[in-house]
């Protein structure tokens, strides 16, 4: 029997059939979010970083490869891949290679639970509303914290395996810094959990339908704790002491070159994106349109009317995340680096106590005032 090539119409029919569509949706989500994270956001952010840095320092920045220099990151990526895979003599080989992988994997794992749009049936194509999130975990928030806490191993191992005193110093600083600020971040997040009554990232967004948490007193305090913790967790200026060029060369990745360095670099930007997304989900209503009840439904936009209707809320969410990514860059090229004792003092003596007081405040408000 001669096989006939499938026509486009038949392929579409198969894809849309009830048994196949959930799978297409499932793999589509994975493909979409990881292409976006590793293929679009990270390279574009590296370009944005360099252009904004240049703008702030009154330079031009990369503008030769592609329109506005946008393909510069692609060119750099190819360069990193083709570079000789250098391995200094006295490193611990296995851990030296493991460390960059340990940086990239948790970054990708945390990215897998970031919700990026409202629940949708794709305009009635799916039998029941599905979440625009790769892994719909009901412990999503805790999962992000748990995976985020693993990121420190890559840095600790990178420094130790490099067998270089600058690297070890960088690792030590990074470990202490990340343990300290995880605590502060946890305190901020507990307030959010108390206010929304859930650790499910979708429920947290739903709880903000009427008022974004940033416009509540405890929510605002939590936000003020969360943002410095966010910078410290990603080891970025003003808290980039693990890298501190002036004193430690570049700290934990001094000995790394080529794509092994590229993985550290990539992981940093993916982590920034995850934390920016968390910030938007916790305090700025996720993909909701405007605070005070002006949701998409509130202004008459049906998020589930057509199969592509989720794109508008998604784009709005992406815009909010992009703003926080810009803040990362903005702060990096504006503020000087803290001293290490200042960093520790800020974390332990300021942010953590305020965080604990904030938790007491939220709990008190909910118990005795019935709301916040």
């Amino acid at each position: 029997m001669a096989e006939r090539a499938l026509g486009l119409e038949q392929i579409i029919n198969i894809v849309l059939s009830a048994s196949v569509l959930p799978w297409v949706f499932f793999f589509g989500k994975i493909l979409f979010i990881f292409t976006l994270g590793f293929g679009v956001i990270a390279p574009v952010m590296i370009w944005v970083e360099r252009r904004v840095a240049a703008f702030i320092q009154d330079r031009v920045g990369p503008n030769r490869v592609g329109p506005l220099g946008l393909l510069q990151s692609l060119a750099d990526g190819i360069k990193l891949l083709l570079k000789e895979d250098l391995r200094p003599d006295e490193v611990r080989p296995f851990f030296f290679i493991l460390a960059p992988a340990l940086a990239a994997v948790p970054a990708a794992m945390a990215f897998a639970v970031v919700p990026f749009g409202p629940e949708t049936t794709l305009g009635g194509l799916l039998p029941e509303p599905a979440r625009l999130q790769i892994a719909p975990l009901n412990v999503g928030l805790l999962y992000v914290l748990a995976i985020g806490s693993l990121a420190v191993y890559s840095i600790a191992l990178a420094g130790w395996a490099s067998n270089n005193k600058f690297s070890v110093m960088g690792s030590l600083r990074a470990s202490a810094q990340m343990i300290s600020y995880e605590l502060a971040m946890g305190m901020a997040v507990v307030a959010v959990i108390l206010m929304s009554g859930s650790v499910d990232l979708y429920d947290i967004v739903k709880a903000q339908t009427n008022h974004w948490f940033i416009f509540t007193i405890p929510g605002f305090i939590a936000f003020l704790i969360f943002v410095p913790a966010m910078f410290a967790e990603t080891n970025r200026t003003p808290f980039d002491l693990p890298e501190a060029e002036a004193e430690l060369v570049v700290g934990f990745h001094t000995e790394y070159s080529g794509m092994k360095f590229g993985l550290f670099f990539l992981a940093e930007y993916v982590n920034m994106t995850t934390l920016s997304a968390m910030c938007v989900l916790f305090f700025f209503g996720g993909w909701e349109f405007l605070p005070f009840g002006l949701t998409w439904e509130g202004i008459g936009y049906q998020v589930d009317q057509h199969w592509f209707s989720w794109v508008i809320p998604f784009a709005w969410f992406a815009a909010k995340v992009a703003f926080f990514l810009f803040v990362f860059v903005w702060v990096r090229w504006t503020l000087p680096r803290f001293r290490y004792d200042q960093l520790m003092g800020l974390g332990w003596k300021t942010l953590v106590p305020i965080g604990i007081a904030n938790i007491a405040l939220v709990a008190g408000l909910i118990t005795f005032a019935g709301g916040f």
């Binding site: 806490s149 693993l150 130790w160 343990i179």
Partner: protein, 180 residues
């Protein structure tokens, strides 16, 4: 025909036993620590198989993410010279094999003695909230409230103790780090 649940359980169990062995037999403390982290991580996988996502995430968050970071931190701070560590206690494969063999023997003996013990637990009924954050915290804050509070107090005491020890050390006259 073993189903996916069984395959996952036995692969996780094998990895847990193997990594536990490696923790004991690797010569360098950092390597041991890494194996222990793998161990904790896969143990979290076992909790997921049991349907308890909350316990799994807390396992990773507390053990793999916090306690082991501290371990690695201390090991890096000490930065032991390989010569100081000595050669004894190095990975001897024969001892590892003996260890694994002993564990397998225990497992087989258990299986023969009590066949019900190693049976996979029945799948959770549809819509069950077992292991969810709500269910776990309700139990913790009602049924196990005293144990929960008591462990909190113990941790608080440890915290105060650490503070006291560190405070006493700081009183030794020294040049302030900021001005050095």
């Amino acid at each position: 025909m073993p189903d996916l649940h069984h395959i996952l359980f036995f692969s996780f169990a094998a990895i847990i036993l193997f990594s536990a062995g490696m923790v004991a037999f690797r010569p360098r403390p950092v390597e041991s620590a890494m194996w222990l982290i793998l161990n904790f991580f896969v143990t979290a996988g076992l909790y997921v198989l049991l349907g308890s996502h909350f316990t799994a995430v807390i396992q990773v968050l507390v053990y793999a993410g916090a306690i082991m970071v501290l371990f690695v931190f201390v090991i890096l701070l000490l930065n032991l010279d390989p010569r100081e560590l000595g050669t004894e206690g190095g990975a001897s494969w024969s001892s590892l094999v003996l260890f694994m063999g002993f564990l397998s023997f225990v497992l087989v003996a258990l299986q023969l003695a009590t066949p019900d013990l190693l049976k996979a637990p029945a799948a959770l009924p549809e819509g069950s909230t077992f292991g969810s954050v709500e269910a776990a915290s309700r139990e913790l804050l009602t049924k196990y409230i005293w144990g929960f509070q008591l462990s909190g107090i113990i941790l608080l005491l440890a915290l105060i103790g650490v503070g006291l020890i560190a405070y006493r050390k700081a009183k030794v006259p020294q040049v302030k780090g900021a001005q050095a």
